[in-house]
């Protein structure tokens, strides 16, 4: 009997038990008793206790069983004959697939011989697993059925299960964070075995060109990440912000303080569209329309070596993308300043702009700064615009018409360009990812703290 079949049988049987519990409780109520919990709760209670532990057991059992089966198969003479290399798991997997009928013929010839053993072992162990699951389900059903009755607080029992579900759902976020840190950390540690972390973090020379492959030219690749981070900051935190901060801030001020309600209700969603446009579209726009324009402009200004992959083009487009982000953060911060401040200032005879400049803006400043930090963290993590429009040359330059490269561009290049897989170069992508993660983490945490603290101040 397969575990799948066992699962279905358990679900059906426990379902029957639950509906039986339901009708029994209904009968009690018809008899005039005032129930503590509604019949449906009793049914759910029985179902949960009957089915869930058994299913959890099966879930845990499945990988265990796979392990047992594999050991059993390896203990056979044919199994022992297999070499213990990367080859073995593939053969085993295939033999198993053959045994379960997932595939009809094998790629590895050894797999065919092993299939019957697999079939036997799987049969044996699934019987054991199914039996235990039945016992667990039976016990669960039996004991929960016994509690069903007028005064039994089935609802509380069911709610505890739901609570468990809620807790598990909320832990997904923790696991994701953990997953990110771990998956980046392992590769980063391997990278730091090859490259000195000090050189990586503080080196001024990013030029992995020399270390693509062992047999290729040169072996002393330079992995100084400062130029990448400079490029990231130059594009995301400087150029983009020069565009986004004034436009976003003044837009927010206009929309909150001056625009009539109707106009505001139109303009706000329109601005939000800017944030909704996919970044690949911005990237295309930057590469095809903005970058040539910027270059032409630079040439017209007499700058001869203007790059068509200028920091300016990518930065400006990124800034446009960030405008609504800045404006909605500023909007929130301004809205959080109590209307009483506005009234207080107007009542003294200040004009609206004086009120904004001298009272509202200073009061909202911490929130606005927090919002800008969040915007910066978004900008430095942005990928597609820079992949499509920024350059690959790791220049340490402050000339906006020059080409710079960013961390995200390098991650994409390192992981999808031509390279050898286990080289320091590939691993460097993960190290860059980890550093980027920590930078945005610190920025975000700090910014969120600022924003929240600031909001609480007025609540």
């Amino acid at each position: 009997m397969s575990l799948m079949l066992a699962t279905i049988i358990i679900l059906i049987a426990v379902g029957f038990a639950a509906s039986f519990a339901r009708s029994r409780v209904k009968g009690l109520r018809a008899g005039g008793a005032r129930l503590n919990s509604l019949p449906n709760y009793h049914a759910a209670y029985v179902f949960l206790w009957g089915a869930v532990p058994a299913l959890i057991f099966l879930l845990v059992w499945a990988p265990l069983q796979a392990m047992f089966v594999e050991q059993a198969v390896l203990a056979t003479p044919e199994g022992m004959a297999l070499p213990d290399t990367g080859f073995r798991p593939a053969v085993l997997a295939e033999a198993k697939a053959l045994a379960t009928g997932e595939i009809s013929s094998a790629f590895n010839s050894d797999a065919r011989a092993l299939a019957p053993y697999f079939e036997a072992a799987i049969g044996r162990y699934s019987m054991i697993g199914a039996f235990i699951a039945f016992v667990v389900a039976g016990l669960g059903t039996f004991f929960s059925m016994r509690r069903v009755g007028v005064n039994f607080r089935a609802r509380n029992g069911v709610e505890r299960w739901v609570m468990g579900l809620l807790v598990i759902a909320s832990m997904v976020a923790i696991f994701t964070t953990l997953g990110i840190v771990l998956s980046l950390l392992f590769e980063t540690i391997r990278f730091f075995n090859l490259v000195n972390p000090i050189e990586f973090l503080f080196g001024l020379d990013w030029s992995p060109q020399l270390a693509i492959r062992a047999d290729q030219a040169g072996s002393s690749g330079a992995f100084g990440s400062i130029p990448l981070f400079w490029g990231t900051v130059f594009i995301g935190a400087i150029i983009a912000m020069i565009v986004a901060i004034p436009l976003g801030l003044m837009s927010a001020i206009f929309l909150t303080q001056y625009a009539p309600a109707r106009l505001r209700s139109w303009l706000k969603p329109i601005l939000e569209i800017l944030a909704g446009v996919p970044t690949v579209v911005y990237g295309y726009f930057a590469a095809l329309t903005v970058a040539p324009a910027v270059r032409d402009f630079a040439l017209a200004m007499g700058l001869s070596n203007a790059s068509s992959e200028s920091a300016l083009a990518a930065g400006v487009v990124m800034g446009i993308m960030i405008i609504p982000f800045v404006s909605s953060m500023a909007d929130d911060s301004i809205a959080a300043v109590p209307a009483a401040m506005n009234d207080g200032s107007l009542a003294l005879g200040a004009t609206q702009s004086e009120t904004i400049k001298r009272v509202i803006f200073p009061a909202a400043l911490p929130g606005i700064v927090g919002g800008i930090l969040l915007a910066v963290s978004r900008a430095i993590g942005e990928t597609m615009i820079v992949v499509m429009a920024a350059g690959l040359a790791a220049n340490l330059t402050a000339n906006p018409f020059d080409s710079v490269t960013t961390v995200t561009v390098q991650i994409v290049q390192l992981l999808t360009g031509d390279q050898e897989f286990d080289s320091a170069k590939t691993l460097a992508a993960f190290a860059l990812g980890l550093v980027l993660f920590f930078i945005t983490l610190v920025l975000n945490l700090y910014a969120l703290r600022v924003v929240r603290k600031y909001r609480e101040a007025y609540e």
């Binding site: 080859f87 997932e102 590895n108 030029s207 060109q209 040169g218 790059s307 360009g417």
Partner: protein, 322 residues
């Protein structure tokens, strides 16, 4: 399931990618129900993915802009991928380009090396204009747009032009014997000032940039040159102007062979794979579909060998790497 048997998966070089996709597309059109996925992962990680093992979920073929290395072959062997068929699909010429309408340049590998090396022959790089290198060359600033270090084209450029130019100096050839590391640095490191700019992997953009900027030289694969002859023209190298012909007979010095590797053991279970190889063979014949995409067909003798490998599914042995 029967469905996955007719799904083929190809990974590997971005240089070979356009050729394989073209074959795949035609192949799918001709065979209802067959699906071919081509992913551009780069040759290195393509090899790694390819050698992971046998099985329905494993990749069936890998595109390569260079020959498989013995280390990769051994990796494959240890994972049970023992029957590997090497298909040499054609030649790609690494080309220097300039804008259409300018006077056609003619450079030698040595001149290119001297202009672009970080430390030509171990000395300091001082050349700013082409005329600094040789008085015959125009008195114009050196401005080259080249592939980034992450691309296979860069490898080829270093291997096919830079090292050749470097070796023209006998002292350098000696250096290779005595101090290999030093040699590599001197011969393959490219300057990083404004004379050499790394372009993106988007070769189409590179074409546009070069065509828009007289005096600029670009480096890319020959297939792109044919597409865009209205905008750009090839630069002659060592006296040979790259054309389909000069590349085909390997007269052009910077030509390279492109490969596709196939898992022989998969052919048995996936009949589609065998048909795919046949379709590929069809496509690389002179006048075949790949020709129209800019791939130069192999010379007669080599092509016969490749045809034989495709027909007979000749597998590689360790001996083939000697």
């Amino acid at each position: 399931s029967t469905d996955s048997v007719s799904q083929l998966s190809v990974v590997g070089s971005s240089t070979v990618y356009p050729f394989t996709t073209a074959v795949a597309e035609q192949f799918e059109n001709a065979n209802e129900g067959v699906r071919v996925k081509v992913e551009s992962t780069g040759t290195g990680s393509g090899m790694k993915l390819f050698c992971e093992g046998l099985g329905i979920d494993e990749h069936d073929a890998v595109n390569a802009s260079r020959k498989m290395k013995i280390s990769e072959f051994e990796d494959c062997q240890s994972n049970g991928v023992t029957d590997i068929v090497e298909l040499t699909i054609g030649i790609d010429g690494l080309t220097l380009i300039q804008a259409q309408g300018e006077e056609q340049l003619n450079l030698t590998s040595q001149q290119v090396y001297e202009a672009l090396a970080a430390n030509p022959y171990g000395g300091e790089q001082t050349a700013q204009n082409w005329s600094d290198i040789s008085p015959d060359l125009p008195n114009a600033p050196i401005r080259v747009l080249g592939p980034p270090p992450t691309s296979g084209t860069r490898d080829s450029f270093v291997e096919l032009i830079m090292e050749v130019g470097c070796n023209a100096n006998p002292a350098m050839a000696e250096l290779e014997e005595s101090n290999e590391d030093e040699y590599k640095t001197v011969c393959t490191k490219i300057r990083e000032d404004e004379a050499f700019t790394e372009a993106g992997e988007n070769d189409n953009l590179l074409v546009q940039k070069v065509s828009a900027e007289p005096g600029r030289i670009g480096i890319l694969g020959y297939s792109f040159v044919e597409e865009n002859l209205d905008k750009i023209q090839p630069v002659g190298l060592d006296g040979v102007v790259p054309t389909a012909e000069t590349i085909g007979n390997l007269e052009y010095p910077a030509a390279r062979l492109l490969y596709v590797y196939i898992k022989g053991q998969h052919v048995e279970n996936k009949p589609a794979l065998g048909q795919f190889v046949a379709a590929y063979k069809q496509a690389w014949q002179p006048g075949g579909m790949l020709g129209t995409r800019g791939l130069v067909a192999l010379p007669e003798a080599q092509r016969a060998e490749a045809d034989a490998a495709a027909d007979g599914m000749t597998t590689l042995t360790a001996a083939s790497f000697e």
